[in-house]
Amino acid sequence: MATSLDHRFLTPLSQSPWPHYAVDQLLWRRLGDDLAAGRATLLSLWAEPDSVHLCLLDEAAGRVAIVSLAAVDGRFPSIARRHVPALRLERSIRDLTGLSPEGCPDLRPWLNHDQPYSFLPAEGPGVHEIAVGPIHAGVIEPGHFRFSVNGETVVRLEARLGYCYRGVEQLMLGQDLATAGRMCARICGDSTVAYSYAFAVAVEQALNVVVPQRGQWLRALMAELERVANHLGDIGFICNDAAMAVLHAQFGALREEVLQSAEACLGHRLMMDRVVPGGVASDLDDRGRANLLEWLTDAERRFARLIEIYDNSASLKERTLGTGILSAGLAARFGAGGFVGRASGRAFDARKQLPYAPYPELDFSVTVLNRGDVNARLWVRQCEVRQSFGLIRNILALLPPGEVRTALPTPAGASEGLAIIEGFRGDILFWLRLDDAGRVAASHARDPSWFQWPLLEAAIAGNIVADFPLCNKSFNCSYAGVDR
């Protein structure tokens, strides 16, 4: 490994499936330097009352590691001091556990909203502020945006989130797996399949469970249906924000049909609570399979026609081309997942780089573009829809027979598990530790949007206020997933 973490000289506390090491302050600081120098990518940073945990990715080697540092007198050396993508995670740790990141350049509370909040100032002749939210004009999640503008041009955007903070990680403590799983499925409703998938895989890693093949394939089926539904809805909304109502209506109808098919074939429109530790909660019968195939054939044809219209509409592309550019450097530095990263040159997709069942058995490709504008993000998403259509067709054709779920064993003792699952926005990380009774002793959910929200702020700078909805929708970051 090119980082300071030399696996030859460290003994893991556990292997779940990635190694988890205890480190001292010196090594902790050196890993902070590695992140800052781009030798490793930050996957997450979280804490328990007496220790902090850092999850790192070595992209070149395709390796993940967790390192833990014991807090001393309620403090730990700030990672954000060297590597700014850790900043909001550290502010969140401080609110959740009281641990203080020493040297952190920003100690404003993040989740605790009980004190007045000062936004970072932007000053100069003619600069004024526009405050938006937490309740927005559309039917969307709550959050506050503070724009500093000069005329029509955005000088700086700062988001303040935390309005959907429900304390999910604290609520899960001491819960049995069924209850904790239902909570995890409701961290972020638009990614409920991906979150349940991550929860289930983390539990299975902790308990050494092998999921029956059919169960694994059905999970991928649901994950791809979720990806398709979200991409269709968002592509439609992007067209709407550029005033192309007919495409909004058509993509909206296509999306609705995915949800109706999911309900008819898998029992729930969003497939909530369908992925569970040990497998899946509902099987797909022959009729469901035939229904899905029929939907797929029709959807593929109509989707291609709609994308052709998008691609041929100069008035629409005039809005999306060159708007809201995210540089490749920032995308790489923040480890931006999903289509946000892949539209700015970061070729990371957990299904390929950190493959998990059943994806190594399935044939698909990942599109990476470099322009980083609204159009590039939309185009990556439309390529992903086509790839997901192919995956769904593949899964329906080759779905292995057999059981869809296996019983969980009695735990042999305390254990931990880590899962990194590609949701439609990017990689979702879920870590948990189980006690010897199989209850949740600690957990952490890291939404992809932790590393995308700050990039939206960067991408909008220099654009006009009127293009914000378009840029925002092209990122479509999660509020509930980040707030938890």
């Binding site: 429900r166 909570m183 609705e256």
Partner: protein
């Protein structure tokens, strides 16, 4: 106009509408509304209701289904409903989520600036009873703990059809 677009528009003009047939008002919702609205001012709204949606801490599942009300399949505007951008323009606050500590003030302010007569609809199991977040120390509680609620639409999340049937019951009762 591009050729694929003109083909699409021609198809839409000549084809059948995508919208599903109108559902009946939800009888359970009618019953709840009969109780809660009997004591309140009624006004003829011409069967038109302006809705301001407030996510008070939801997982976004309810918002997905509420958004679907406006798609071509459910097309709730044909029944006189529409989403408005401000609570100042609204007749109905459609509230989702367990009310978080961090959203309580915004929700109360939205209600305060909604002109009378106004109705509050709590959509989803979290809004009705906090759902899986009932024990959360950072949630205030269900919507009724913060605002007077006229109608609950259950579900996790409620389907667009359930939402439509509930809202139709509301417009039949107040309209």
């Amino acid at each position: 106009m591009s050729e694929p677009l003109s083909r699409l528009l021609a198809g839409a003009l000549l084809g059948r509408p995508l919208s599903v047939p109108a559902p009946a008002a939800d009888p359970i919702a009618l019953e709840e509304l009969a109780g809660s609205l009997a004591r309140r001012s009624r006004r003829l709204l011409g069967r038109s209701l302006a809705i301001r949606e407030v996510d008070a801490g939801s997982c976004n599942g309810c918002e997905l289904e509420i958004n679907a009300l406006a798609n071509a399949i459910y097309d709730f505007e044909r029944f006189g409903f529409r989403f408005v951008a401000s609570p100042k323009h609204a007749d109905v606050l459609l509230v989702t989520g367990p009310v978080t500590l961090n959203m309580k003030i915004a929700l109360e302010r939205a209600y305060a600036v909604t002109p009378d007569p106004k109705w509050v609809v709590a959509a989803g199991d979290c809004a009705a009873g906090c759902g899986v977040f009932a024990a959360s120390p950072v949630c205030v509680g269900k919507v009724r703990d913060v605002l007077p609620v006229d109608l609950h639409i259950p579900g996790c999340p409620p389907s667009p059809m359930a939402l439509l049937r509930g809202l139709l019951a509301l417009v039949e009762t107040v309209g």
